[in-house]
Amino acid sequence: MEDSKNIAGEKLAPELNSRREFMKQTGAILGAAGIMSMVPMGTKAAAWAGGSDAPELKEVKVGFIPLTDCASLVIASVMKFDEKYGIKIMLSKEASWAGVRDKLTNGELHAAHVLYGLVYGVHLGIGGQKQDMSVLMTLNNNGQAITLSNQLKDKGVTNGAALKKLVDSEKRDYTFAQTFPTGTHAMWLYYWLASYGINPLADVKTITVPPPQMVANMRIGNMDGFCVGEPWNNRAIYDKIGFTATTTQDIWKDHPEKVLGCTGAFAHKYPNTARALIMAVLEASKYIDEMGNRRKVAEIIADKSYVNCPLEVIDQRLEGKYEDGLGRKWNDPNYMKFYNDGAVNFPYLSDGMWFLTQHKRWGLLKEDPDYLAVAKKINQIELYKQAASQVKVPVPREVMRSSKLMDGTVWDGRDPKKYAAGFKVRA
């Protein structure tokens, strides 16, 4: 009796894992266990704490943009990993990142597949009305790219250094596009251009347009380059209008990309739902990172309901088989990863802080924010850890990680103010 009371009373123990073990061991002598064994395997995991940890919401509205990296959300829903944790993910395809932002902040969506930097921007009131935001987990690493137009190729530009030379020697308006002012693609594009000495704000024109517009404009010769997620870069090659100048994994190996974002209010009000969502998506992420499953994943997400594009445009790069449109073919070891033994999904504080340093670098933030405090407020490390331990996903010991970017600078989350101010090319 003493024991069963303990179980019901204990709500959010940090070591949920051991509690589950404990349930299993003592299950046989507890009356409740008799009932539990009649419940199918799936719902058991969600209801094991006698209702107190059951998701507050049964249906969770999750927005996504039709891109390859929405895969883990689609798989969580299609393969019914969500039902295993007592929720139903209601996927909603969105028209643009601005649309995702609006629907997240006004509550039409509970959570969304969203650009890392967008969440941080909205939290600080740049690129959207200021509202407290949360990152529940990182959805993927790598798998974006910068595409340059075939017109540039005809001028002999195949890489950043040659682009710099052309921009210096032939004066005209060079137009580059990204997907959202504070988003990841803008930051990769700016970082890449700047590391070749091209100031993305002064030397060229950078604009925000949706991916189909990028492709359409490149076709008519109105766009010199863009940074966007797959399948659009592969699509540019497939449509013979451009080539891949660099992948983003070559800018920053295993860089954070899309996150599972929601408002701060949602994470606060529905912690159990948030945990169930993280667990379902973690399981889907594991599934996708089995190379043998990737073909099937490509088939599922290419469907009209999701990415809505020809399978052959998606599957190659999802399986790590790259071709740059200049004749080079390679197997990229740093292809788009969704799990990587949990290393992808942990919401490292240093990842979030990096976007703030870049927002500061490019003048989106006028003052240095309290980098660490903001990241701690947004990234829901505790929720993530609790969810990860329940589905046996390894959690790194440190909340910061050290990364070396393409220009040799190292980012480890220490002294963000100095890091942000240390770039030669800046706003």
């Binding site: 395809k93 028209a95 039409e108």
Partner: protein, 256 residues
């Protein structure tokens, strides 16, 4: 004889027009890689319309559902605009003071592009669907106000003088004189309004998402499926034409 004349006047010219249109389209398609020709588009349209009412969840529904959803939004936004706009038009037309009071505001707001109202709608209603309906409302209300008011103003003063002589009540004046005399103007306003509303819904849905012909086009554009975009252009055109024809019929029935 009569039949021959009918064909000569009413059937041949449109047929020739459509034929020329298709020929020009074919020539354009021949010279461009990206633009699909009429035959390819037709085949894809047949495939699309062979199953217009399937439902594969909220992100993939048949073309029929998309059209109906858009029509629903137009119906609500347009209906609300009529409820507000027509009475407002009567008041403005009847009372000169209010006319002068409102005319600068109306003249200023009327030329604003409908989509510029969308962010305001999103801010106020905090939801995409009401915001889209709001855009329809605001873009279709102006022709109704202006045309109704104009109809009231056009009313010959003799009519009202007669009414005064007969000592008719304000209600009788409205139902017997004002309303019938203004009806043709009102219907013109409604016709103009529905045209705008249908035009605007496609653009509004492109931005807000959800089930509807506008977001359907956007999604096909994301997929760079040009055939479907051309089909959508025809759908939008034909539905717009049908709406207009319906209102013309209605107008004919009510004209005194």
């Amino acid at each position: 004889m009569n039949i021959r004349r009918y064909f000569g006047e009413h059937v041949f010219p449109p047929l020739i027009g459509i034929g020329l249109f298709i020929i020009v389209w074919m020539i354009l398609a021949q010279s461009s890689e990206a633009l699909p020709g009429p035959l390819k588009t037709w085949n894809s349209a047949v495939a699309l319309f062979s199953d217009p009412f399937y439902n594969h969840g909220p992100n993939d529904q048949g073309i029929g559902w998309n059209i109906l959803n858009s029509l629903g939004r137009v119906g609500v936004g347009f209906g609300l605009a009529a409820l507000v706009g027509i009475p407002l038009g009567f008041i403005i037309g009847r009372i000169e003071f209010i006319d002068k009071m409102s005319s600068p505001i109306i003249s200023m707001l009327r030329p604003v592009s409908p989509l510029a109202w969308l962010p305001i709608g999103l801010l106020v209603f905090k939801a995409a669907n009401p915001a889209a309906i709001w855009v329809i409302f605001i873009s279709s209300i102006w022709p109704m106000i202006i045309n109704t008011a104009m109809g009231v103003r056009q009313l010959p003063t003799d009519y009202l003088n007669v009414a005064k002589v007969l000592n008719l009540s304000e209600w009788k004046i409205f139902t017997r004189i004002l309303f019938p005399a203004t009806l043709p103007y009102m219907l013109t306003g409604i016709r103009l309004a529905i045209g705008t509303a249908w035009l605007v819904i496609v653009a509004a849905e492109m931005l807000t998402g959800g089930v509807g012909i506008g977001f359907w086009v956007w999604d096909e554009w994301n997929n760079l499926n040009v055939e479907h975009i051309i089909i959508a252009i025809f759908i939008v055109g034909i539905v717009g034409l049908l709406l207009e024809m319906m209102l013309v019929r209605l107008a004919k029935r009510f004209s005194y």
